[in-house]
Symmetry: C2
C-alpha cells in the first residue's frame, strides 16, 4: 500500500508564512479511485501570491483554508487510478491537488482539466499556459488593451505573471515595454531574455522620477502586480487615457491588516481621463481554451519566453510560498514531487 | 463711456482663497466690439471647484491664471455690441467671461455659445444644463452606467454636480440612490427635494460602516466629488463589478501639495472586478447639444430639481469660490452682476 504525505494547515501565519504553520501528515492512498473520481500522483505544484490570502481567516472570493485541511494548491499530476470515463490512467491533469503527494479528486468539484496534448511541457500548465499566463493574457488584452505605439509598464516583471504580461504587450504592438524588478539579476533577465526595453529597480526611492525619464510622454498601460508606493509612482506617470490593470499587490503581502501605503495620486485619473481596474481571471473561464492555444503558439514561436524556478521535496512547500514575497524566485515558482512516466 | 470693473489675480493663494488674492481694476468698455468679437455685459458668473486649481502655478489640462490676469470664469451675459454675424445685440450667451462686469469675447477663442431658446432660465446654462450638468450627465451615463436595480452613491450630493448626478441615476432606473452631504439642511434637501433615498453625513467618522448599513449588498456605482477618506470608505463598500466615477475631489481643496489622505482599499478593485475612472467633460463636447436637451427635458418634467445659490456684487466673487470648499453653498453657486433685459 502506498502512503500519501501531505501538509495541513496547523496555525494561521500572522505575518510571514513559516514552516511551523504546517504539519506533515501521512495516510494510505486508496488503490482504486472512488466512483466518478481519480487518484492523482502530484508531479508539480504551483505557487501564487493569492495563496497567502487563503491563509487569512477572512471572507474573500475564495474561502480560507481551514485548520487541519491540506493546503490548497493547483498542480499537475498523473492519473494513477481512474473511475471517471473522461480521464485515462496515465494521463496528465491540472487540478486543485493541494500540498500532497497523492490526491483523490472529483472532476465535478475540483476543476480537473486534461493537460492539452499540444502543450510543449506539462509545466506550462502551471505557468504561461495556466492560470498565471491566462491572468496576464486577459488582464492585458481585455483591460490594458495596448495599441500600436503605446508605452507599457509591468511591475514585478520578472515574476510569472508580469513577464508574460509584458511579452504579450510587445506581441500586441506596444512601442515600448518597461518593467520593474527587485534585483540586478532579475532586471537583466527581464531585458535580455524576456526582451523588455528597460527594467527599473522597484525598490528605488526615486522610482517616480525614474519612470518619468523612462516614459517622458507618460505610460499608456500599467499592469500592476505590486501595489503600494510603486503603483502610486506609476499613477503619477499615467498618460492621458491611460489604463491601469490591477492584477496583484505583492508589496502588501496579502496580509489581513490594512495596507500601510495608500495611493495619493488617484486624482490624476480625473485630469488624465484614466482608468484603474481590477479583475479575477475566472470571469473569463469560457475563453480559456482559445487563450491557452494563443499562449502556447507564442511560446512555440519564441515570442513568449518562460522560466520555471523548481524546488524539490514536499517540505520545501512553505519556502516556495515565502519566496514569492521575498522576491526569491526567478520565473514561475514550482515544486516538483515526481516525474511523470 | 461705461467703466468695466474687474478682479485680477494679485497673488496666488497658498491655501484658502482670500479676498487679498485679487485686485479690483477698472478700465473703459469699448462702445463697439472689435471685428469678429462681442462686448458682453456679465449677468451671472458660475463657480466650480476646478477654478481653485487654475490658481496654482502648476501644469494641468487647463493652464493657470497668470498674475495680473482677470480671474477666469464661465458666465452668462447679454451682448451689448456685436461685430460677429452669429450673435445679435441683446442675445444671451454663455462664455468665458471672467470675473468682470463686461467682457470683450471672441467667439473663435472664448467658447461662446448662444443660450438655447428652450432653456427655462438662463441660469440653467451655468447649472443643470451647463458644464456642471453635462459633467454629471456624461460621468453617470458613460462611466457609471447604472442599470435597473443598481445601488448608487453620490458624494457631495447637495452640490451642483452631485445633485444632478443622483437624479440622473434615478431617471436611468437605479433602485437605490444614496447621497452624502455635510450639514443637516443639505441632507434634508437631498432627500426631500432631490429625492434621494437616503443621505449620510460625510463627516461621520463611522461612514464606512454607515455605508455598509445603507447598502448591505454593496454599491454598484459611486459618483465621487470628494476624494480622500470618503472615497476610501466608498471603495470599501464597492460591489462586484462596481464602477467608481472620479469626478472631483473637493476634500483635497484642489491645492498643489500632495493630498494627505491616500486610498487604502484599492486592492478591493481586484477581488471585486471593479473599476475607478476619471474623465474631463470636454471629451464629450460633440454630444453637448443632445445632452443639454435631455437635461432640460428632465428639468421640465420635474425629474431633475435644481437649486441656485446666488450672491451679488463683484467683490463677493472670492467668497463665492471659498464657499464651495467650506460647504457653504446650497446648490449651484452663482454671482449675479446684472439682470438681462
Amino acid at each position: 500500500m502506498t502512503t500519501n504525505r501531505m501538509l495541513v494547515l496547523a496555525e494561521r501565519p500572522t505575518a510571514e508564512v513559516t514552516d511551523a504553520c504546517f504539519e506533515l501528515r501521512t495516510e494510505p492512498v486508496p488503490d482504486t479511485a472512488p466512483a466518478g473520481q481519480l487518484v492523482v500522483r502530484t508531479c508539480w505544484l504551483g505557487f501564487e501570491p493569492a495563496m497567502r490570502g487563503w491563509l487569512n481567516d477572512l471572507p474573500s472570493y475564495t474561502p480560507p483554508v481551514a485548520i487541519g485541511e491540506v493546503m490548497r494548491a493547483w498542480g499537475v499530476g498523473q492519473v494513477v487510478s481512474s473511475s471517471h470515463p473522461e480521464f485515462d490512467e496515465g494521463s496528465l491533469v491540472h487540478a486543485r491537488l493541494g500540498w500532497q503527494e497523492y490526491a483523490v479528486v472529483d472532476p465535478a468539484a475540483d476543476e480537473v482539466l486534461a493537460v492539452p496534448a499540444d502543450l510543449t511541457s506539462p509545466m506550462l500548465m502551471l505557468s504561461a499556459c495556466g492560470l498565471t499566463g491566462l491572468t496576464a493574457y486577459f488582464g492585458m488584452t481585455r483591460i490594458g488593451r495596448p495599441i500600436e505605439g503605446d508605452t507599457v509598464l509591468v511591475t514585478a516583471a520578472a515574476g510569472a505573471t508580469g513577464s508574460v504580461a509584458g511579452q504579450i504587450a510587445r506581441a500586441l504592438g506596444a512601442r515600448r515595454v518597461i518593467g520593474t524588478a527587485g534585483t540586478p539579476e532579475k532586471r537583466a533577465w527581464v531585458r535580455d531574455v524576456a526582451g523588455f526595453d528597460d527594467c527599473l529597480d522597484h525598490y528605488d526611492d526615486g522610482i517616480r522620477r525614474a519612470l518619468r525619464r523612462a516614459a517622458p510622454d507618460g505610460i499608456d498601460v500599467v499592469f500592476d502586480n505590486v501595489g503600494g508606493s510603486l503603483l502610486d509612482a506609476a499613477l503619477f506617470n499615467v498618460a492621458n487615457g491611460g489604463r491601469i490593470v490591477l492584477c496583484g499587490s505583492i508589496s502588501t503581502g496579502y496580509r489581513p491588516e490594512r495596507p500601510e501605503v495608500g495611493l495619493h495620486y488617484y486624482q490624476l485619473l480625473t485630469s488624465r481621463s484614466a482608468r484603474m481596474e481590477g479583475f479575477i481571471v475566472s470571469k473569463f473561464a469560457d475563453e480559456y481554451t482559445d487563450a491557452r492555444r494563443q499562449l502556447q503558439q507564442w511560446v512555440t514561436d519564441g515570442q513568449l519566453r518562460v522560466e520555471h524556478d523548481v524546488l524539490h521535496d514536499l517540505a520545501a512547500a512553505p519556502a516556495g510560498l515565502r519566496r514569492l514575497f521575498e522576491g526569491g524566485n526567478q520565473g514561475k515558482q514550482l515544486l516538483q514531487l515526481a516525474e511523470p512516466h
